[in-house]
């Protein structure tokens, strides 16, 4: 029988997500007070729904593929074949931001994000991109800290930013 592997994997993921929710739900209290339905009822319905939908999608995946599916050929979607490096660079930027924001600070984290995303989209002017990212990050930082009174982490630039931020 012909089937599409990615679709089947996704369908089974939904099915297992439903089962995981059911297991998690069994640990929730069923005491519901006057309403007689406790905090476990909604998750139970949701897990049931996910299991049914996972089964439904698996059936579709095994019987010729999901109905009205998006074409697998990028050209049919008006796109180019997958450029994995772009995906990796954008991800790298976001992960760098997660690690940098509370150490190096907001401005440098945003500059790193900017640099990586621009690289992912094909830019090779690293110095220019990093500089733009720095200026953007600094502008946003000052606007938020000075004008909106929202504290953003200054990090390594603390001495330069003169006590602004946290």
């Amino acid at each position: 029988m012909r089937y599409k592997r990615a679709e089947l994997i996704l369908s089974l993921a939904i099915l297992f997500l439903g089962i995981a929710v059911a297991i998690g739900t069994s640990q929730l209290s069923s005491a519901g007070g006057y309403a007689r339905i406790g905090p476990n009822v909604a998750p139970m319905i949701i897990s049931g729904g996910l299991i049914l939908l996972g089964a439904w999608l698996s059936y579709e995946a095994l019987s010729g593929g999901w109905r009205n599916a998006v074409p697998d050929d990028p050209e049919a979607r008006g796109e180019h074949p997958i450029q994995a490096s772009a995906f990796v660079w954008v991800s790298a930027g976001l992960i760098a931001q997660i690690f940098l924001i509370h150490s190096a600070g907001f401005v440098l984290a945003q500059a790193a994000l900017f640099l990586c995303v621009a690289r992912g989209f094909g830019s090779v002017k690293f110095v220019r991109d990093f500089a733009i990212g720095l200026v953007l990050g600094l502008g946003v930082f000052l606007f938020f800290v000075k004008f909106l009174n929202v504290n953003l982490p200054a990090g390594w630039l603390q001495p330069l930013l003169g006590g602004a931020g946290i």
Partner: protein
């Protein structure tokens, strides 16, 4: 009717105070600017700009949001026509003829019919909202928890199962949103659910984080992977911006018909501006005296869908304001903006916070006028925005989008969740799972759960309450039929 008029006049006295006027102006300008950026739709625009309103009072902030909401829509049509990259599904119909007109050197009239059509449809729809909202409020005041629960189930059904290419995938998206909605402290019993001991999860997952994750991070991952190396063709804006007399004659009936199609779709909780835009396109194609022009850039084919989009988006304010039910991803983000100010839209809002509601409605009239002024003469400036190189554009979008998610709680956990939602958004986009139902499910799920429990508390635990009360029973029956009938029809056809 006269009462509504009096309230509206009072609303204008609030919306026209210098500061509120300024917030409205800032809102439409920023909304247009961000909305013009390719790949950024209205939902993301509102989510991204949310932190900017942190210093404003509730009325000022919501006036600014309404401006952003409208502005993002006007701005989006410029991108749709000149670049042929609709930022949201409701702009696809506009792109069909609009981009062809631009290719034939008629970008000016195409943009003009969009802007003026949006103004006409937006203004008529706002008048209808003004007249209709108090009526709905009267009815809604009689609703109990069972009726609200039924209405929310109806909204769930229409946004996930009825709209879109696949019922199974629409419902899957909805249930993912519902699942995210139960994370955190249960509002009724105070027990934590699915928080896995992470303190940041106890407050629940913010709609803004989900919207930014799906629409900005997911989009950047997807476009980077599949479309970052494509050549894009920006159509030139040359010649006159003005529409000829013939353009006017062909446009105005289309605007009016589209308003009549779009508004009802927006105002019943049926969700999505996508269907009315295509309906309007089909109507204009059928009624036109110039059928040979369709497929080569017919102005009715631009005027209609764009006006239908605007009328339907404005109509969506009726269920949002009077019932607290969002019917699009953008409305869901707007609802979360209300909730940030501790405001729960619904019939009581009209009674308790009349100043806010009527000030907001009045600002919609003003916003439409401002947008007409901003858009036509300044279109040259907006076109320059489209010339920003893609690498810098997407890097900038992510810098601001992640800022929007991070500044909510200054929490790294939000950034981690954001990235996970980005991966989810990538998968959903690649395999054709719609994202709007997830966003709506996240915000509406907990509200539906609360209403269900209230109804059951009143009935002392008897679930019959949902089917013995006529209004609730009929809404549930209609929802059930909407879900089941298409499936049965399909099965019968096959055999």
């Amino acid at each position: 009717m006269t009462e509504a008029f009096g309230s509206l006049l009072h609303g204008f006295s609030i919306a026209l105070t210098p500061f509120n006027l300024l917030w409205g102006f800032l809102g439409v300008t920023l909304g247009t600017f961000i909305g013009v950026l390719p790949g950024v739709g209205p939902a993301l625009t509102v989510a991204m700009l949310m932190p900017l309103t942190i210093k404003l009072d509730a009325t000022g902030a919501l006036i600014m949001f309404a401006g952003i909401y409208y502005g993002a829509m006007y701005g989006g049509s410029t991108t749709t026509i000149l670049l042929n990259t609709p930022g949201e599904s409701a702009s696809i119909a506009t792109a069909l003829e609009g981009n062809l007109m631009a290719k034939n050197g008629r970008a000016g009239p195409a943009l003009a019919t969009c802007a003026i059509g949006s103004f006409v449809a937006g203004t008529i729809a706002t008048i209808l909202v003004t007249l209709l909202a108090p009526v709905v409020v009267e009815v809604a005041l009689k609703f109990g928890p069972a009726e609200y629960f039924a209405l929310m189930i109806f909204a769930f059904t229409t946004v996930s199962a009825v709209i879109g290419s696949s019922t199974a995938r629409g419902l899957t998206s909805l249930f993912i949103g519902l699942l995210l909605g139960v994370v955190g402290i249960d509002s009724q019993t105070g027990r934590s659910r699915f928080a896995f001991g992470v303190p940041e999860l106890l407050d629940g997952i913010d709609v803004v984080v989900l919207a930014v994750g799906l629409f900005a991070v997911g989009e950047a991952l997807y476009v980077g992977a599949y479309a970052s190396r494509l050549e894009e063709k920006l159509e030139q804006l040359k010649g006159s911006l003005w529409m000829s007399k013939k353009d006017w004659q062909r446009s105005w009936p289309a605007w009016l018909r589209a308003t009549a199609i779009g508004f009802p779709f927006g105002s019943i909780p049926a969700g999505g501006a996508e269907i009315p835009t295509f309906l309007s396109y089909a109507t204009e194609k059928k009624l036109t005296k110039y059928p040979h022009e369709f497929g080569h850039g017919a102005i009715e084919g631009v005027a209609g869908p764009e006006a239908a989009n605007n009328a339907s988006v404005t109509g969506a304010l009726v269920p949002l304001l009077t019932l607290g039910i969002p019917t699009s991803a953008t409305a869901a983000v707007l609802l979360s903006a209300f909730q940030n100010y501790g405001i729960q839209p619904g019939p009581l809002l009209f009674q308790m916070q009349g100043d806010l509601v009527w000030g907001l409605l009045a600002s919609l009239y003003i916003g439409n006028v401002l947008l007409l002024i901003l858009n036509l003469p300044l279109v040259g400036m907006w076109v320059k925005v489209l010339m920003i190189p893609r690498p810098l554009l997407y890097a900038g979008i992510l810098v601001f989008a992640t800022l929007g998610a991070y500044s909510l709680h200054q929490s790294v956990v939000d950034l981690v969740i954001l990235y996970i939602f980005g991966l989810l958004g990538f998968v959903m986009r690649r395999w054709g799972i719609p994202v709007a139902p997830a966003v709506i499910g996240l915000i509406l799920g907990p509200l539906a759960e609360t209403q269900a429990r209230r109804a059951l508390a009143i009935s002392q635990g008897s679930a019959a309450v949902f089917v013995t009360q006529p209004i609730s029973a009929s809404i549930l029956a209609v929802s059930f039929l909407l879900l089941i009938v298409p499936l049965i029809v399909k099965l019968v056809r096959r055999h």
